[in-house]
């Protein structure tokens, strides 16, 4: 019950985005992945559920090699993985209720009453009770992210993948989302991968932090370890000092 990437390469045309990424996320752990914008964090996250296929290397989830799964097996795996998108990716023609219910409608063992109850429980977990009938266009950015989170957790997944969950939010909403991520990890016991470039968020939510740099994992450690590291590239990123990154790259 873990996520394991081994030597993952991915290029778009001539641009190499991932150049041999290897990372193991243990069961029940919250793993933050940090890195500059455009460093390939979201690409890496998408390879975990095969929204993108690696050019080389392997991705294992729950002991299964994702690239080798047939269509039905892949969909069966995806039912155990919740994905929170950077801009929520809510279905804009559907109400909040229907957005959260989408994944649940694939579960044949849930009747209408149980489905409704599960939607309400999920909305309550993200503190969005009472918004069922709203359309995504009537919500603020933070509210949309919370509904996206409710949609991802509604099926009670074993894994949660977060793509920049706090980008573009004010500090208070960011703290609310961070608390939710920690609460969900504690209450639901999920294994999480959180892609972010917000260091304060990473320190608050992560058991471990990995840094992606030039297509590879440059560092993996606990929040305390990353704050104590002497690697100039990592220090330069977490302290916002580009001169250190240039020094490390040289």
């Amino acid at each position: 019950m873990s996520i394991e990437l081994d030597g993952v390469h991915k290029a778009f045309g001539a641009k190499r985005v991932l150049d041999g990424v290897s990372l193991r996320v243990e069961e029940g752990q919250t793993q933050a992945v940090i890195g500059a914008s455009g460093s390939g964090k979201s690409v890496m996250l998408k390879t975990i559920v095969r929204l993108l296929t690696p050019d080389q290397g392997t991705v294992h989830v729950d002991g299964q090699e994702v690239a080798r799964l047939g269509r039905e097996e892949l969909y069966a795996l995806r039912r155990h993985v919740g994905y929170v998108f950077q801009f929520a990716a809510l279905f804009d023609s559907m109400t909040v209720f229907d957005n959260v219910a989408m994944g649940l409608r694939r579960m044949r063992d849930l009747d209408a009453a149980a489905l409704g109850e599960r939607v309400q429980t999920s909305l309550a977990l993200v503190e969005m009770t009472g918004y069922d009938d709203r359309l995504p266009g009537q919500l603020s950015g933070g509210q949309r992210k919370r509904v996206g989170l409710a949609r991802a957790i509604a099926t009670r997944p074993k894994y949660l993948l977060y793509d920049e969950p706090t980008t573009g939010l004010d500090p208070v909403t960011t703290a609310v989302i961070d608390r939710l991520i920690v609460k969900l990890a504690d209450e639901l016991g999920v294994t999480s991968v959180v892609v972010t470039h917000d260091m304060q968020s990473a320190y608050r939510i992560a058991d471990k932090i990995a840094m992606l740099y030039e297509g590879r994992i440059r560092f993996v450690g606990t929040p305390a370890e990353i704050q104590a590291t002497r690697d100039p590239v990592v220090r330069g990123f977490i302290e916002g000092r580009p001169e250190l990154i240039e020094e490390g790259a040289a």
């Binding site: 998408k46 969909y75 069966a76 993985v81 919740g82 990716a89 279905f91 994944g103």
Partner: protein, 260 residues
């Protein structure tokens, strides 16, 4: 100097290469769609909704076009035949032209704009806002959820819309004939029946079904292929309408060659 001569050749070569690559991508897309037809649990509940959106909601524009086409056909036929051909041939021309050609083709072209653009813009927007990725992560096959119900609705509803358009075009021609051309109903109906063949209606509906297939699948393809932002959605929409319109004319010629 040599480069000046080879540049146009290279440009043509690139265009051919792009066309072949696009054709290949459409082939791969079509295979994916056909494979998803078996996922009835996903598309079954969406079919009626799409039939209403693509078919019923398209009736006003199709009927508007058909009514005015019928009027113009009757008047032009009368103008052409006066003094040379018996006037009841107005009924022949209105019936044959409306059912065999103008009903399906003008309706198809109008729906290429309305339906094709709508599908490309909607799916393209879903692509660039990661809603299609979200569908995938929720274990939905996006082809089964988005494309199959639209394509089936197009194939089923275009013939119905065209049947109404054909009928209204003929009725509009008849009303014009009896009111503006000094013809009687008996004369118009005589002309209408004299060369009428039920195959004409079948031909019209077969063409309409093929136009429905082309417009919905091309709109879906360009929507799925959208990459980027709002400008890319705009490009995809334009491409969908232009390619659908061209495809309608190609199919029109194809059916004329193979069935007439």
């Amino acid at each position: 100097m040599i480069r000046a001569w080879t540049a146009p050749v290279a440009a043509v070569g690139r265009s051919v290469q792009d066309f072949a690559a696009g054709f290949g991508r459409f082939g791969t897309f079509s295979v994916g769609v056909v494979r998803s037809v078996g996922d009835v649990a996903t598309w079954g509940g969406l079919l009626i909704q799409q039939m209403a959106r693509l078919g019923v909601d398209s009736l006003p524009i199709a009927l508007f076009i058909a009514a005015f086409t019928g009027i113009v056909l009757a008047l032009q036929a009368s103008y052409t035949f006066t003094g040379a051909v018996p006037l009841y041939f107005v009924g022949v021309l209105v019936g044959k032209t409306m059912i065999l050609e103008l009903g399906p083709v003008l309706t198809g072209l109008a729906l290429a704009g309305r339906v094709g653009a709508n599908i490309a813009a909607e799916i393209g927007t879903m692509r660039v806002t990661e809603q299609i990725d979200a569908l995938e992560t929720l274990a939905y096959d996006p082809f089964a959820y988005l494309v199959v119900p639209r394509v089936l609705a197009g194939v089923l509803m275009f013939p119905i819309v065209v049947a109404f358009a054909d009928a209204l075009g003929v009725v509009a021609g008849w009303i014009t004939a009896i009111n503006l051309l000094d013809m009687s109903t008996q004369e118009f109906v005589r002309g209408l029946r004299i060369f009428f063949d039920t195959f004409d209606v079948q031909f019209s509906l077969i063409k309409a079904a093929s136009f429905g297939l082309a417009v919905t699948s091309i709109g879906s393809f360009f929507g799925f292929a959208t990459m980027g932002g709002a400008a890319a959605v705009g490009r995809a929409t334009t491409q969908a309408v232009v390619v659908s319109a061209m495809m309608i004319l190609v199919l029109d010629a194809f059916w004329a060659v193979t069935l007439l």
